[in-house]
Amino acid sequence: MPAELKTWKELPLGGVVPGGTTPEINKTGSWRAERPIWHEDKCIQCLQCWLHCPDDSILTKQQKMVGIDYDHCKGCGVCAAICPKDAITMIPEREGQCGK
């Protein structure tokens, strides 16, 4: 077992997790079977993907879609389904580029 895991004496009471710490530790992107690919040329910046993403994994800058947080995206495909312009498509994870 990795050494950085805490002992039972170091855990918060009742397993209550301090705010904002969970996503830093849990890279849920490793759960993904399918990966969303963003095609910037087709994107009309309607932000429907950002609105519907259940994992806050649509990255934005100044209210514009700029990419996908692959550390946390679980590959549910909601963004691809909701996109009105097919600007997001799903590919098998094994065909994706490592870290991207």
């Binding site: 895991l5 039972w8 009471l13 009742g14 397993g15 209550v16 997790v17 301090p18 705010g19 969970t22």
Partner: protein, 387 residues
């Protein structure tokens, strides 16, 4: 001031003095009057509690969990099937370390359906992670409701607590009770300091997070540590209570004429009153008999029970519930307590009073007589059953 009141009223009075922020409760015989009294207090503006009339006991404990996680002081009450429906959430209250105190008006579990007293509902919740106290009288139910609230909220404990009182025998019977003055009761229980309340928007937190095999075990070990703190806090809280009440409790159980006893009973709840009369009767005839009445059942005081019983020749452990396919749960506890002792009494397990079957002094006298001859064996013996 001494007053005449039912066990219901006694518990409701303690709750009125504690004045929790939220009470979420669903009616069930023989608990309902606790909720009814409390609803009157809320309606009449005597307490500033939010009373949540939920649609089931599962919802009652769910609402209690939400309110307690939000940072509130929370109480509830139930019985029998209600507890059976609630029990999933009792485990969660314990795992989240939420100090929710509940009165449990002990009643038999179905089937066959029955509304009268036994301890099968309490036994169902035995391993849920709540500390469990049994009352002999309405007075004890009142006192231990206040004491339980203080134990539950202790920073080292922070666990749900269940105060058991025998359905009908205690809940519906009027008895003399001497409550504390309101001010003294409120001062004894003190203010509640919530831990990491959900409604603290400046310090957000996640409650009820998922734990994988890498952390579940550690979190359960930490929960056990909370339970391990209960005995010391229990004794300390009893001491604090003795300073404000005219009566004092000392210890995890009451020993009645036990010190020089050759034969003794171990039991929980209102039958202790009947047993004391039987003990006195036999003592008057020169028989050295005694009683050990459990107050704190969970966590079980193994060492202290062993010390109190080591000198006794024969002990009858009386369970008011069947644990099907096993000996009575209290019997198993007492066996475990004594297993490492060099000198230990012979133990016999008696099952009694299921579904409200009356237990008279004659029944207890019979147990003491039967105990003389009974061979110690892992065989259940039944009291007051038509064989």
């Amino acid at each position: 001031m001494r007053k005449v009141m039912t066990g219901h009223k006694a518990v409701a009075e303690a709750m009125r003095q504690i004045e929790p922020d939220v009470v979420a409760v669903y009616p069930i015989t023989p608990q309902s009057e606790i909720a009814e009294y409390y609803a009157e207090y809320v309606h009449d503006g005597i307490v500033h509690t939010e009373l949540v009339p939920v649609e089931s006991e599962h919802s009652a404990m769910s609402a209690c969990i939400g309110a307690a996680a939000a940072g509130g002081r929370v109480m509830t009450a139930t019985s029998s099937q209600g507890l059976a429906l609630m029990v999933e959430m009792v485990y969660i209250a314990a795992g989240l370390r939420l100090p929710i105190v509940m009165a449990l008006a002990n009643r038999a579990l179905s089937a066959p359906i029955n509304i009268h007293c036994d301890h099968s509902d309490a036994y169902l919740t035995r391993d849920a992670g709540a500390f469990m106290i049994f009352a002999e009288s309405a007075q004890e139910a009142y006192d231990y409701t206040l004491i339980a609230q203080k134990i539950a909220e202790h920073p080292k404990v922070r666990l749900p607590g269940i105060v058991n009182l025998d359905g009908f025998t205690l809940t519906h019977t009027a008895d003399v009770v001497e409550p504390l003055e309101d001010e003294a009761a409120k001062k004894f229980v003190g203010d509640y300091q919530p831990f990491s309340p959900m409604l603290d928007v400046d310090r957000p937190s996640t409650w009820g997070a998922f734990a994988m095999p890498d952390y579940y075990f550690e979190l359960k070990r930490a929960q056990q540590a909370g339970m391990e703190e209960v005995p010391a806090v229990f004794l300390h809280t009893q001491e604090a209570f003795a300073k404000v009440a005219a009566r004092g409790y000392r210890g995890f159980f009451e020993g009645y004429r036990l010190k020089d006893a050759e034969r003794a009973l171990v039991l929980m709840g209102s039958t202790a009153g009947t047993a004391k009369v039987a003990v006195d009767e036999l003592r008057a005839r020169g028989e050295k008999v005694g009683l050990l009445k459990i107050w704190l059942w969970r966590p079980f005081p193994y060492r202290e029970v062993a010390q109190a019983l080591a000198h006794v020749n024969k002990v009858a452990v009386m369970d008011r519930a069947l644990s099907f396919g096993a000996m009575g749960a209290l019997y198993n506890d007492v066996c475990a307590a004594l297993v490492h002792e060099k000198n230990k009494p012979a133990l016999v397990n008696y099952i009694y009073g299921l579904g409200g079957r009356d237990v008279s002094t004659d029944h207890i006298l019979h147990v003491f007589q039967d105990l003389k001859e009974a061979q110690p064996a892992h065989t259940l013996r039944f009291v007051g059953l038509r064989e």
